[in-house]
Symmetry: C2
Subunit: 228 residues, 2 copies
């Protein structure tokens, strides 16, 4: 089993059958010890964060599978903190696609002249480039198409899929009295038919969630979501 | 005649008949004494820059008038460095709309992972918010609509008008062997029928122009464009 990629919060191993194994780490993104799902740096290490993130990912990926939403997920081993996934080809060098239900984070920093903090947003979708050295710049459909990163059809398919998946996650959180403010996804082409599918993970580190008006850290979110 | 606004490169006076007078100054945008049309600060003062900018604006606004493109322009007095314009209502607190033919400036800084310097772009249109304190953030159609700054129809109308006007300017520059790399515009609603129209100016300070592979400063551009 060969380690083919070392990420901020996960390592990736190639399996002999062509699939991949994601090993979840206890590192979470943030700055100066404060969790921030929009950050590009590892801000802190929380014991158990890896397994907690994997548990929530497994829970949500299996709901998506039941609903027929294409993802790279095959199965997960909580004890080992690993998830087995199908190989995927990302768009360009990787995109992050954000769905926003309330104005917080980078959206508010950019558009604070017009947006009030926590103002409701109607599932606003934003695309950003994965580019740490340029702070993951937001990018429009026109620029994505002109730079050959996505076709117009791919852009629309990913945008629609983003709204659909975010809506499913939002509903699951709502069942526990938790409100989803925003969530970010990655997509790739998966399988022989190269279907556009959700890849990466769906854990507390990828979203901002609030309960009773207070921000919920990833570990607590996963506890609240998975306890009986 | 009352001064109603003091801008970085122009002052605005209200006239008794309801129109406005723009007084062009010799200040140009840039940083540390270097001209940069994308900058938000006055970088340097060049004697004669105001009148030169006005001359090119007058020249181009009159071409647009001949072609039936709606603008706020009425007439210009070069000696006084003033332009008379119709009153206009901007969208939100003001937008800048950029048309790009080559990858330079902020586009390259944002998308340098994919774009090569000076790579051709097919009249790519970008919208940014006029917000000095947030470095004029780029914004998507979806976000403009959700924040109530533009309707989808207004977005499309402004985008189409931007491509049309930029194409006209590009053709005029090409007649002098000059290549337009990018240009930025402002739009507003003008007149009784609140038609969407080009406002502000169209001078060297709003565009990047190159001749024989070399960047042309605003004053030289205006000289090359207006000499016989």
């Amino acid at each position: 089993m060969e380690c083919v990629y070392t990420g901020k919060t996960k390592d990736v191993y190639s399996l002999e059958n062509g699939n991949y194994l994601l090993k979840f780490k206890d590192d979470v993104t943030g700055e100066n010890g404060v969790f921030d799902p929009g950050a590009n740096t590892v801000g802190l290490t929380i014991e158990g964060a890896g397994k907690a993130g994997l548990r929530l990912s497994k829970f949500l990926f299996e709901i998506l599978r039941d609903k027929g939403v294409p993802t790279h997920y095959i199965d997960a081993n909580i004890e080992e903190a690993t998830m087995t996934v199908k190989p995927a080809k990302v768009f360009g060098n990787g995109l992050e696609v954000i769905c926003r239900y309330r104005a917080v984070g980078s959206f508010l920093r950019r558009y604070g002249m017009y947006a009030k903090e926590e103002q409701p947003l109607d599932a606003l979708v934003e695309f950003t480039l994965k580019d740490d050295s340029r702070q993951d710049p937001p990018i429009t459909e026109d620029a994505l198409v002109m730079l050959g990163i996505l076709s117009s059809e791919e852009y629309k398919a990913i945008k629609d899929l983003t709204k659909k998946i975010a809506g499913i996650v939002k509903d699951e959180l709502a069942k526990k009295g938790i409100e989803l403010y925003d969530i970010k996804f990655e997509f790739g082409r998966v399988g022989k038919d190269k279907q556009i599918a959700l890849i990466d993970e769906i854990s507390g580190g990828n979203m901002r969630a609030y309960k009773d008006g207070k921000s919920i850290e990833p570990l607590l979110l996963e506890k609240l979501m998975l306890e009986d």
